[in-house]
Subunit: 224 residues, 2 copies
DNA sequence: CCAAAAGTGTTCCGTCTACACCCATGG
DNA sequence: CCATGGGTGTAGACGGAACACTTTTGG
């Protein structure tokens, strides 16, 4: 116990970087900070880690309080611990990135917390080092989306190939050739065409597809 | 201040995952833990983060105390915070991965700290969640070495192409075709052939090469 | 009837992979 | 003189990129 007591303890928080996809744009969920220091500034949503709580649990608790969602995709982005990153006290924060399906998200809850979806290419200045966190999350996301089936977390269960393509374009920030994209997608059995047709986004109607997680786990290789 | 004080503080430490390359093997620097809890177990080397110290500074301080080296490659692996990861108290640890050139490392210092180089494929059970940290570090390293010039951190300033190839093979865990490897290397101007010949590792002698960081920064693209 | 999005194949080019032999030298 | 590691080129396979027109239907 002596071993520990001679060293100082610090506050540890988690911050959630919540991405959603809406209107062909990748969006980030941010709010106005409700407390000092930094009251009123745009900010990620976070919370302190409790003594009896894992880091992941803390991040999930924060996310749940915001969105009412559990079991969403969540990944650690990293620890941020510059001495003066928090203007009040020394606080080390672990950033987590979540990908959520906006259509599952209760908009009432969003408004209750005073949160907004903002385009990632129109981010305002955020509180403390939160911009840095977001940039790191985006660059991780760009890397991972090429080899992991992350895009489906941002879409409804049923989606069109055009929507799927827009997710990749929004994240990678580049246009993709439609024919080449669809050729690649069709090579994967775990992206299943259904009999259903989406008529909301086009006059002609587009086939709806579904991600089959079980088949994905069997195939194991993926490369966009 | 009220905002903070209602939450609990925790200890935060850093742990250093130090990789080296020796005898065609990727090695990890570990030691026997000198203190309770866990005295005598194999362990990474770590230390508590001080109140007036950035995370990176803490990791560099720990690494310096071990190896006498500064300005080595160092990258955050992630935060580990399971409630019971430390058998004594709640401690959250940020793992950092360092790549060092073993020939620059004062072996006396190694012995003073009772440290050993062990092959990464012969790792013993380590204290607490340190095996998990190492695995995450290795998988990050495998990913990054394909697009970043990390391998040179593990080699002396002057190295042969065979040594360089062995670094990639050790990290990726796979054999590489010699002719294909050398073809790719020669396409990069920032890997410069010198007039010097290494006679230590072969009878015939092998040309020594050098990594030119300045040229690398100008070229900007790299893909093994 | 026309605007708007869905859907569909082929060709070309560059990149990756597989593969085997001669060279120089220390012991 | 021979064992050991150093050094070199080519051909075929494969995957990625470029590219344009027809279909359907709501308004």
């Amino acid at each position: 116990m002596n071993y520990y007591s001679e060293h100082s303890k610090v506050w540890v928080s988690v911050d959630c970087i919540v991405f959603g996809f809406e209107g062909d744009k990748l969006k980030l969920l941010i709010g106005r900070r409700q407390m000092d220091p930094g009251r009123g500034e745009w900010s990620l949503y976070g919370g302190f880690v409790r003594a009896d709580e894992n880091l992941e649990d803390a991040a999930n608790r924060v996310l749940y309080s915001l969105t009412g969602m559990k079991k969403t995709y969540m990944k650690q982005v990293g620890a941020f611990g510059a001495i003066d990153r928090d203007p009040g006290e020394r606080v080390i924060s672990i950033a987590y990135c979540a990908l959520i399906n906006v259509t599952d998200y209760d908009d009432l809850l969003r408004k209750q917390h005073g949160l907004e979806w903002v385009n990632i290419d129109e981010l305002p200045k955020l509180y403390s080092d939160h911009n840095e966190m977001v940039h790191k999350a985006i660059s991780l996301l760009r890397r991972r989306i090429k080899t992991e089936p992350l895009s489906f977390n941002l879409l409804p269960n049923l989606f069109t190939l055009t929507q799927l393509q827009h997710v990749y374009e929004a994240i990678l920030g580049d246009e993709i050739d439609k024919r080449n994209f669809r050729k690649r997608i069709k090579a994967y059995d775990f992206i299943e065409k259904t009999e259903l047709i989406d008529k909301d986004h086009s006059k002609r109607g587009a086939a709806l597809y579904r991600f089959n997680k079980k088949h994905y786990n069997e195939e194991s290789s993926f490369k966009l």
